[in-house]
């Protein structure tokens, strides 16, 4: 399941204060400890996990603000590649 993979990536690279596998999909990840720099690692790991590339137009703070937001963006990029 895509969201599980995203949560695994966050757990490995997000350096968050809580386990991202346990948080609500709408929870604010920045409030939970995700830093701007960690979001770079999360993005690169998501690119590897889903064989996608984040274009400049989705490099927004809001893209990484919640599991839900990440899933929406990744889903769109995966569909665009397919």
């Amino acid at each position: 399941m895509m969201q599980d993979q995203i949560r695994d990536v966050l757990a490995t690279h997000g350096r968050m204060a809580v386990d991202p596998r346990e948080v609500d999909e709408q929870a604010d990840l920045y409030e939970l400890g995700l830093t701007s720099h960690a979001s770079v690692d999360v993005m690169l790991a998501l690119e590897d996990a889903f064989d996608i590339e984040f274009p400049d137009e989705v490099l927004k703070k809001s893209t990484f603000a919640s599991v839900h937001n990440i899933e929406q963006v990744v889903e769109g990029l995966v569909k665009a590649v397919a």
Binding site: T35, S36, H37, D41, L44, D56
Partner: protein, 145 residues
């Protein structure tokens, strides 16, 4: 109680700051190598950071990029990190914007900036101060507030 205005003589002032853990940059380099570098830094920045204190310099530049993003104060704006470049004029770091961020800076009336970088063993930091041109009524977009 008073509310202090964010402008001086009609010139809006913007400020941004950020701090980055050196260890985080080290780990990103170990995990993603050149992909990390090419995604975040320009070729010129990568070149400037060669040699001693490479990771500290990269961390300071990342902090500068985030400081600039904060100075824009547009949470929903795309932030291609490579459109924010730290260059040097002798000992002084300078800010260079390109692409969409240069356009947005123009839209917000950015007229001049001052950038300061620093690092210790564990962290690097940056502060950017931006002075904007006076904005006439009707010219200011939402992003200029």
């Amino acid at each position: 109680m008073i509310t202090l205005p964010g402008e001086v003589d009609g010139h809006r002032v913007r400020v941004g700051c950020d701090v980055v853990a050196i260890e985080d940059v080290q780990d990103s380099l170990a995990a993603f190598g050149d992909r990390y570098l090419r995604k975040v830094f320009t070729a010129s920045e990568i070149n400037d950071c060669r040699g001693r204190n490479r990771v500290h310099r990269l961390a300071a530049r990342f902090a500068a990029k985030e400081a600039v993003i904060k100075a824009f104060a547009e949470p929903d704006m795309p932030f291609p990190w490579r459109e924010i470049e730290v260059t040097r004029d002798g000992p002084l770091p300078l800010l260079r914007l390109s692409g969409t961020l240069a356009e947005q800076a123009q839209h917000q009336g950015w007229a001049s900036s001052s950038l300061s970088l620093s690092h210790a063993d564990c962290h690097a930091m940056a502060v950017v101060l931006v002075v904007c041109s006076p904005v006439n009524d009707g010219e200011a977009g939402a992003g200029a507030r």
